[in-house]
């Protein structure tokens, strides 16, 4: 049974159609004549926030339909855009509903807030709102830098609780009561969203843990701040992982089990081994460097569409920056083209930052592919990674599929330069890790 392919456009159409229906619903229950006031704002934002919260759950459920059809980085981008929208709608709904209550009862806002909080289900809904606001604040760039990934991740997990708290309030909300078919549809939206999360974020990794029994076999130092973790397990071919894809790894030890880290495979997977290569730049990744041999690994995935299947053109350019070499290293070994017209451009600040260099040289020598190392300061014209510079390296750039994985800044620079020069968007394949 092959899963039907969902495209990003189709998903967006369905999501916006659902949003329009949810918002229109609040107009059908509004008092006539419809007046733009606190009551209408509360109705519209309440329905929109409730709907968007369920959609956010679905988009981040790691369902293979979405991961393959839309792509992980695009889903993450939608989530990064939609998350703040849900929080803003919820906050506006809270304020507008309190104001509407005050107006209806001729109360001052404080008295209205106190009265509203005594209503059934409203205290838990307020806790849910508070959690959402907390998560939103923690994701602001200024605060995000001050907290660890583990703390940020834990806060994000609390959003499930926040959404569940809000659900009871929505079901008893004035837009849904008295319309049983709508209450059933709304309940199904939420139970399906949670079922998707349970199926793909909980049951699937647990199943994989049981089936593949993945364990750390070796931790190898590649450079002063980069390590490779080699893991062995059983039936790994059943994962159908491809070079260029990534997993979310959870190392089941005291201090590392709580966090799932997204890392790409840095070598083509085999039926009993997987390898990742990690830059130790934070507390969590430093702990991974010290992980004992034999540690069980809980792996969610594979995810991402940065695979050789995306290739459309006769030639390939792989662009890697720093530790972004990991998916490129795996792809470099397996992309098989007539004439071996594959070029890997690898950018690093210092010679010692060129990780896996000996492997890349060996693959290039064996396959006839080409590696170009750009080492040194970015101000050096020899390290230019603009579209004209890349064109000089590979010849006719428009005849290439370009695979890109680098730091957000370098990736943005390369992407913008390519787009400015009219490079076709569908020939640029990226994986962005930005958490």
């Amino acid at each position: 049974m092959r899963l039907p392919r969902l495209t990003a456009t189709l998903i967006l159409v369905l999501v916006w159609l659902g949003a329009a229906l949810a918002v229109l619903q609040s107009f059908t229950t509004a008092e006539l004549p419809i007046r733009l006031g606190a009551s209408l704002v509360a109705h519209v934002t309440g329905m929109a926030a409730g709907y968007a919260a369920a959609i956010m759950l679905i988009l981040m459920s790691r369902s293979p339909w979405l991961e393959r059809g839309v792509g992980s980085h695009r889903l993450a981008r939608w989530h990064a855009w939609g998350g703040p929208v849900v929080i803003m709608l919820t906050v506006i709904h809270t304020l507008a509903a309190t104001q509407a209550w005050a107006e209806a009862g001729s109360l001052d806002p404080m008295a209205a807030a106190k009265e509203v909080l005594d209503l059934p289900g409203l205290a838990t809904a307020l806790i849910g709102t508070a959690i959402l606001v907390l998560v939103g604040l923690a994701s602001l760039r200024v605060l995000r830098r001050r907290i660890s990934y583990e703390q940020w991740h834990f806060l994000h997990l609390l959003t499930y609780l926040a959404v569940a708290f809000g659900f009871a309030h929505q079901l008893a909300g004035p837009d849904l009561v008295g319309r049983q078919w709508l209450q059933i549809a709304w309940s199904l939206l939420y139970t399906y969203a949670f079922a998707l999360v349970l199926r793909w974020r909980v049951l699937q990794p647990l199943f994989q843990l049981w089936r593949h029994r993945l364990r750390v076999e070796e931790v190898r130092q590649e450079s002063p701040d980069v390590i490779s973790v080699l893991m062995s397990g059983a039936h790994l071919d059943e994962l159908r992982a491809e070079p260029g894809q990534f997993f979310r790894w959870r190392f089941l030890r005291g201090q590392t089990w709580r966090s799932a880290y997204p890392f790409s495979l840095s070598a083509p997977p085999t039926c009993n081994r997987l390898r990742i290569t990690v830059k130790t730049c934070g507390d969590g990744t430093r702990r991974i460097a010290r992980i004992p041999i034999g540690t069980l690994v809980f792996a969610e995935g594979p995810y991402g569409g940065l695979t050789s299947r995306r290739r459309r053109r006769p030639r390939v350019l792989l662009i890697a920056g720093g530790v972004g070499i990991t998916p490129m290293r795996a792809l470099f070994e397996v992309i098989d083209l007539p004439g071996k017209d594959v070029t890997l451009v690898y950018r690093a600040s210092r010679e010692q930052d060129l990780v896996l260099k000996h492997e890349l040289d060996e693959i290039a020598e064996r396959s006839g592919a080409r590696v170009v190392y750009l080492v040194g300061p970015s101000t050096d014209t020899a390290n230019d990674m603009s579209a004209p510079a890349l064109n000089r390296i590979v010849g006719d750039l428009s005849d290439h599929d370009v695979y890109l994985c680098a730091s957000p800044r370098l990736a943005a620079r390369v992407r913008e330069s390519l787009m400015d020069r009219g490079f076709p968007r569908q020939q640029l394949h990226e994986e962005r890790f930005n958490f």
Binding site: A100, G105, S106, L107, L119, L171, G178, L188, A195, E238
Partner: protein, 71 residues
């Protein structure tokens, strides 16, 4: 625990270990069945939540008791 018991416990997995490993196809079908069961349960739960949902809204301003204005 005595040495004999320890020894016995150590041997149990060897005795009870199944000799036939489940085939990938059996595993795939089991997962599909689990998925169907999970979504059947989600459907039943969702429908029951919707059917038993409140018929009046405590937060409706239409039903809000308006405070008396003036004597």
């Amino acid at each position: 625990m005595s040495d004999t018991a320890l020894d016995y416990r150590r041997r149990i997995p060897l005795i009870t270990r199944p000799s036939v490993a489940p085939s990938p196809s059996l595993i795939r079908w089991s997962l599909r069945i689990v998925t169907v069961m999970l979504f059947s349960a989600a459907t039943a739960f969702g429908v029951s939540l919707g059917v038993s949902a409140p018929e009046t809204s405590p937060t409706s301003v239409v039903q809000h008791p308006v405070a008396p204005t003036g004597p």
